[in-house]
Subunit: 385 residues, 2 copies
């Protein structure tokens, strides 16, 4: 694929934005990215979103947003892969630019979830699972992840408290991210004492949903030889892979094989390995997912992902810093937007804009966005040119 | 963009398939296309669908379908642009192949609408309109089109009966399409006597929804030098354009400017004009949309699209044959699948497989898929190599 550069990024703070509409939030991130890129117009708009038909009564979000931000008579489309929608939209935009059909693209991940009750949100999130064989049997999305975590603890002998470092690191990092939903440092005691959601997942294993949008402008790399002082950030690799949608259909429900395959493909394309990565924005929708992602992407052996947390290797000063801006756990998880938050955050790391949680000398970073319980996995490696 | 060929096509009959699931229907069309293409596997799957989150409780339809048809560990994603989802998925797949990221792709348009009440379907279809400024004010999707038709009749002096030829042609052609939902010839009298839905749109102005799927396999043209006797069908042009999502925001609600722009771009890329087209599969969700599409794409002057029907120019023997397999009106309109039915049908015409409604010597055909009330428009020109 042709070399593509990230020309600009933008994001909104994640929260319960009762006074802002779907339009307002998506538009803010879009304008921030266009302004950061120093352009007023792009050829095409790709929107990542999962729930707007169910929560906001709005479909064709591509055209909807193009209309709102004044990109009239440009191409626009929505891409959906459950919670992997943001990453999937980014990949679709990359391929559009690489095909030569469009010369520049704006990608916006957006979700506005506060407008419905928790009951509705739980039902809506269950559409990421298999409707016939999972959701219709009454298992919620957190329930599915709880089954996986339970099995993992049983199989590999970990205690629930061993997962605490994932949550503690995410919350500590989010303290320094003005766009994060949660600004609240937590301790191991607080983690263990937190309310149970679905055994063994408690409130501090689980990421909060929310309203938010994140965006990026991409162009062929050759068009941005110099970027007024800022380092040029390139997309070094992009790959997407899928697994069975129902967890029970997998030979091994404790191995994210689509994460393994999409990361492996990215490593091949970029000519790097896990050891070369300076930062890794993982899809820590639940602490168990952080552990499984680290294992699938080659940072730990099977069943050992939890050890990386216990060894302090996942903090900004560790061997493989994750959730450097708070991750899904504390930055927040507006589902269809999350993949674009990850792209924006890796870009911030490579630009050296992360202050207290800046990874020293970060030059290569990976973002991995997951839809469903490991069913749709989209991985990107970014690098400083 | 790189030259791309359509290697295989498949479709299911449109109807109320109470005994078949979303999986079953999409899988049938997918397998038919793979079989027609003579391949067992492709690199990636692109699914066009609008309503599965609302009607079937299922999201991430790309991965869902890849899992069902055994395309394990391939890339898969859903693309959505309301009723333009099928065409938008086809265009996304073209760009993916043209980018070099995937070498072959399966595109499936699927919608399964029978599982909910008419009330739910009407509410679901309204998500194609502007939720804040149209749907929330109580105007349904057919209501919006009725306003446009009313205005058109007032502005240009047409009677309701002048629209009859669109419906009569579609129904006549569908008689010879085994995949069509309606096999029922109609007359001008029947058209005028049909039950009113939303003045001036009556039942025979409006397309029936339904359950159905249509699919195609695409590959770089250079990979299919010979196709065992069948003509090689190439994608000569692809373009997408958008308009404001709300009709009231347009300077002229009677001109489909996004259709004009996407068709114009296709003509430029393919190096052809309206006169060169042998067949045109229009998005006749309502008779008024057929008239407006013909005008926007250069087959008639503004306000004169209806005349083409009255002059018998839209039949398979006319100047610009439309709805040659029944169109949305009689083949049926399973919304997210429609764009792929159009691609399949134009391919059938170029292959000379349309029997009684075959357009003699058809070598160039256009398919135009519309999302919303002219908001998302995706146009493709196919040709015999």
């Amino acid at each position: 694929m042709q070399k593509i550069a990230i020309l600009g990024i933008g994001q909104t703070r994640i929260g319960e934005h009762w006074d802002e509409s779907l339009r307002d939030i998506a538009g803010k991130a879009a304008f921030a990215a266009l302004q950061d890129a120093g352009v007023e117009k792009v050829d095409a708009l790709y929107v990542g979103n999962m729930l707007s038909p169910l929560i906001n009564g709005q479909n064709q979000l591509g055209t909807f947003l193009a209309d709102w931000i004044g990109l009239w008579h440009q191409e626009a489309v929505k891409v959906e892969a459950a919670c992997g929608s943001g990453g999937a939209a980014f990949r679709a935009a990359l391929m559009a630019v690489a095909s030569g059909e469009v010369e520049s693209a704006l990608v916006v991940g957006i979700e506005k979830m506060s407008d419905k009750t928790s009951h509705d949100i739980t039902a809506s999130l269950a559409t990421a699972a298999d409707a016939d064989y999972e959701a219709d049997q009454g298992v919620s999305f957190v329930g599915l992840n709880a089954l996986v975590m339970q099995r993992y603890m049983h199989e590999f002998g970990w205690k629930h408290s061993d997962f605490a470092p994932f949550s503690i690191n995410a919350h500590a990092n989010a303290m320094h991210n003005p766009f994060a939903r949660l600004h609240e440092k937590i301790t191991a005691e607080k983690f263990e004492g937190s309310a149970m959601v679905a055994t063994p997942i408690n409130l501090l294993d689980a990421s909060p949903t929310g309203d938010g949008a994140a965006a990026a402008v991409i162009v062929p790399a050759e068009k941005v030889a110099s970027l007024k002082g800022k380092p040029r950030i390139l997309v070094a690799a992009s790959a997407s892979n899928t697994d069975t949608i129902a967890i029970h259909s997998r030979k091994d429900p404790l191995f994210l094989s689509a994460a393994y395959k999409s990361a492996k493909r990215c490593y091949e394309i970029a000519g790097v390995g896990p050891k070369d990565l300076d930062v890794f924005e993982v899809h820590d929708a639940f602490t168990i997912m952080a552990a499984l992602s680290l294992e699938a992407c080659g940072f730990a052996e099977r069943g050992k992902g939890v050890q990386l947390g216990l060894d302090n290797e996942i903090t900004p000063r560790g061997r493989i810093p994750i959730c450097t801006r708070g991750g899904l756990k504390a930055r927040g998880h507006p589902v269809g937007a999350t993949g674009m938050y990850q792209i924006v955050e890796v870009t911030q790391q490579l630009r050296g804009e992360c202050g207290e949680t800046q990874v020293d000398g970060a030059r290569i970073g990976m973002a991995q966005n997951i839809g469903g319980s490991g069913a749709s996995i989209i991985t990107h490696i970014l690098k400083v040119d």
